[in-house]
């Protein structure tokens, strides 16, 4: 937890958001430079590491943000606002994929006790794909909170801003999400 660096914590203000809405190129460039990496990472781990798909979703997220910039309220952080939009875009993405009947990657059995061993670490690529596949099998709201919390390192309060849920609701969603993913991964 707490992996967010200073750069990641940087936020642009509401005035800059208004400039974005007016088509200010500098403000748009600042928005992208400030948030594109974070949003990309948030998306990337939810789409099984498919770079092109992740980039498409990030672009859709920022386009939607510009379109709805006039509705942005200064009380919220721009990052949580963008995470919220991106979460919806990812959900849309998985809905489309389900319609196309693209099954997630098959899961493989592995031994948890080997996680610390060098062999497992060497096989990290395979391990990563299993985690991605498990994430893709989760319901959208479970996947969102898990990635926000344990990959993006957001606090419970920040997740509340993104999802619009209460603290209790976020915590219970996190707990159910972990159980669900543990079951998918066959963790004991």
């Amino acid at each position: 937890m707490g992996r967010a660096s200073d750069k990641q914590n940087r936020e642009i203000n509401a005035e800059q958001v208004q400039a974005i809405q007016q088509g200010d190129e500098k403000a748009i460039a600042e928005l992208v430079r400030t948030y594109a990496e974070r949003i990309y990472r948030f998306v990337y781990h939810q789409v099984g590491g498919r770079e092109e798909d992740a980039e498409d979703i990030v672009q859709e997220t920022f386009l939607a943000a510009i379109k709805s910039a006039h509705r942005f309220q200064g009380s919220a952080r721009v990052s949580t606002w963008l995470y919220s939009i991106a979460a919806h875009k990812v959900a849309d993405y998985h809905r489309r994929r389900r319609r196309r009947k693209e099954e997630p990657l098959p899961l493989l059995e592995f031994n948890l006790s080997e996680l610390d061993s060098p062999e497992v670490l060497l096989e990290k690529t395979e391990l990563r794909e299993r985690i991605w596949a498990a994430l893709e099998r989760l319901p959208d709201h479970y996947r969102t909170v898990l990635v926000l919390r344990y990959i993006e390192g957001l606090t419970i309060n920040e997740i509340m801003e993104v999802t619009g849920q209460s603290q209790k609701s976020v915590e219970s969603t996190l707990t159910r999400a972990k159980r669900a993913m543990a079951n998918i991964l066959n963790l004991k």
């Binding site: 992208v32 980039e55 386009l63 990290k124």
Partner: protein
Amino acid sequence: MVTDKTEKTLERLLSLLAAEPVHPRPGFQARLIATLTQAAISRKRAWLLPARGWVWAALTLAILFTLVGGWLATPRPAITATLEVKEGQVIVQQTRPVFLTLTRSSEKTLTKGQTVKLAPGDRVRTDANGQAVITYPSGSLTEMQPDTDLSLLELQKDPSGWVIRLKVWLGKTLHRVRRALESFPTFETETPLIIAGVRGTVFFLHAISEDHTYLATDEGLVRVQMGDQAVDVPAGYEVDAIAGQPLRVRPRVTIRTAWEANITNLSSFTLEGNAPPGTVLVLLANGKEIAKGQADEQGHFTIQITFPAEGTYSLELKAVGPDGLVEVAPPISFTYDATPPSLEILEPMTTKVTGASVTLRGRTEPGAIVQVGSQKTEADAQGLFSIEVPLNPGTNEITVTATDAAGNTVTSKFYLVRK
């Protein structure tokens, strides 16, 4: 059951992903900035266009108002006449407003007993057997005879009374215009050649061709205009309007005496008819006056005609109205013939015959009707005839009668003995 240990393991697994450096492909950010800038500029331009919700709402309202206003402003025929088909078939072409100046045209064929509402612009055609009556709200009528084509040009009520305008393209129409006590109706009937303007009258109009219209007034007065000429046609008078010729009103003379052919065996007879009251009628035979009469107050006249001798005459009836207007009917050829036809029996040549019937042959005037008992035949162009006569056993009295076109007869009687 998921234990704390399991949860820790899961968190560790996810942190393995978090630890990995993840970056979009090179150039992605630059492309994204360009795409977003372009999109923002497009949106800014779109702002200037009527893309905002309130603009759409205003546009929708404007369209709605235009539609409703247009519908309300669309002229619709408030006053209509009724057409009823009396005989045959009638084709009605109608044009009705749909929206503002947009109209829809239709054509329907009506049969006897059917009715339809007529509005200005409608056109009606009767077929070869078609007859129809148009009744206007003012109570006036137009009777259409077969092969007549007319359009209703105007139908409205203004402060001075009803205004009805028709155009008779072709054919015969009789108009009965009702004059209301409190108003002065305008009833105009056009043909390709004339305009007939009337105020309370009954008149017959025959658009014979584009260059010829005949009009006869029964009641009231009709003002006929052809180009810059205008004449009044009073009751009992008529006019033939012919392009390029002066309009000339003349008494309308109707002969009521009927004869089957222009030939008679009577040396004198009475000619009866109608003409405007006071009209003097003179009958000329080969240019010489042979009889004279005058129409009484009811317009009725009788003329006693006596032929000076047998022969064929060229008869002309000259009518001089009380106002000096003269009508000379086209001359007709008329024959006074008081001489009975000849009759000669050619067969049988003997008085004694065999068989139940005999063929009687003979000669008389060409065209004469030959009758024997109930048997009848007509002599041919040479005057020859042939007729089969049944015979009884013994002596039969045969009576042959020949009657010519003038009604003169000749009879021949003889006996035949059936052996």
